[in-house]
Symmetry: C2
Subunit: 260 residues, 2 copies
Amino acid sequence: MHDRLTIVKVGGKVVEELDSLKAFIKDFASIAGQKILVHGGGRSATAIAQQLGLETKMVEGRRITDQNMLDVVVMVYGGLVNKNIVAQLQALNKQAVGLTGADLDLVRAVKRPVKDIDYGYAGDVTGVNTEQIEDLIKNGVIPVVAPLTHDGKGQMLNTNADTMAAELAKAFASVFRVSLVYCFEKKGVLSNPADDDSLIANLSYEMFDEYKESGVINDGMVPKLDNGFAALKRGVSEVFITNIKGLSSGLSSGTLLSLD
Amino acid sequence: MHDRLTIVKVGGKVVEELDSLKAFIKDFASIAGQKILVHGGGRSATAIAQQLGLETKMVEGRRITDQNMLDVVVMVYGGLVNKNIVAQLQALNKQAVGLTGADLDLVRAVKRPVKDIDYGYAGDVTGVNTEQIEDLIKNGVIPVVAPLTHDGKGQMLNTNADTMAAELAKAFASVFRVSLVYCFEKKGVLSNPADDDSLIANLSYEMFDEYKESGVINDGMVPKLDNGFAALKRGVSEVFITNIKGLSSGLSSGTLLSLD
């Protein structure tokens, strides 16, 4: 039986404001066993870009990453957000290391081919190298992973954090019993986004298809769930969508995905 | 006999312009055996700060680091400069990991006490934790270290890169036979800063004292050499001051420090 590894992806305001970050880190640190944290940082990147006079362009929720915007996301995701999380974990005596996909060659990607839209320096993941960090994880170190990849030729690339978490989960599924947790502002997947009590506690792939078709599930939730179901299909043991409360209560609330 | 570990500190334009960075990385990567790279990034930090409308204040070559400036150096040193170096090393098939003092609890510091000058979030090093990265280094991984520390209570701090390199050298001297190399624009320590041929090939502590008194050695070179001699006194095997050419020629040129 493999050891359990919990991979938590957190984004939004939670990681970008010091008070909520501290609260989140405390809950995250209390998860038993081995773990990886994947974080976003889009709002901070947008704010810094604006201060630098750069306009943020998004297409279907994805950032257009030109050279200047790449510098911003490498600074903000790889530097500011990542190191503040690591420092907060160290303050709780949790041994942590901040990584991008370039560090220890963790996640390689190719620059997204231009079809209808030129996303610029956006990276589509081609491979995850678990070898170097497996021992660190087994020694109790928590990798804190920024949503950045590299192409193996010296180029950093910007990769969606939900995708990054799913790719790590799939790759580590051969070494650990992996639980993938998407932690965000809402309780989980809601059948009515305006009603916080409309939580779908169990979501099968068939239901997901129906909800998608009827428009109940839409926007940013669709790629998140696509990523989640893809991870389940590739050997990840459990995929949860929840909020901090769900995370801190030992995943007793939220949406649990299932393939049947 | 301990294995050799070469710790190179590089700063200035070399790491902050892509062409010279690539040339430097190639030379650095060709150094035989185990190694650590410590980098600066002050010019980039000053440039980004300026774009953000922040004024850079320096006192005796040290940056005054208020909250906004701290965010800038964490972004620029820990993100932009660090990750570009790591990606370039990976492009040469050199396994590397970018670290700050917070990562793996590598370097702890205290916020510098306010005496005559309030340096803000400047960190004076209190300890180096070699334990976590020793195995990585022995497995051939190159730590790329940004000049940032943490206080163990969740606060990132800004630490001089020359000091960071010397502190790492001293700490690793009990585990490795350490060579510390300060790589910068000039050939080494010059007896006449205007004359590139006035290289002092061997500099004893006594000579350093005399040159300091007569003003031949001054400004930024003094703390660099103070750091270098302190490292020698604490068990570091060799300390060199050289440029890229000296580095790439197997340290056959430059200034070698000695205690007698």
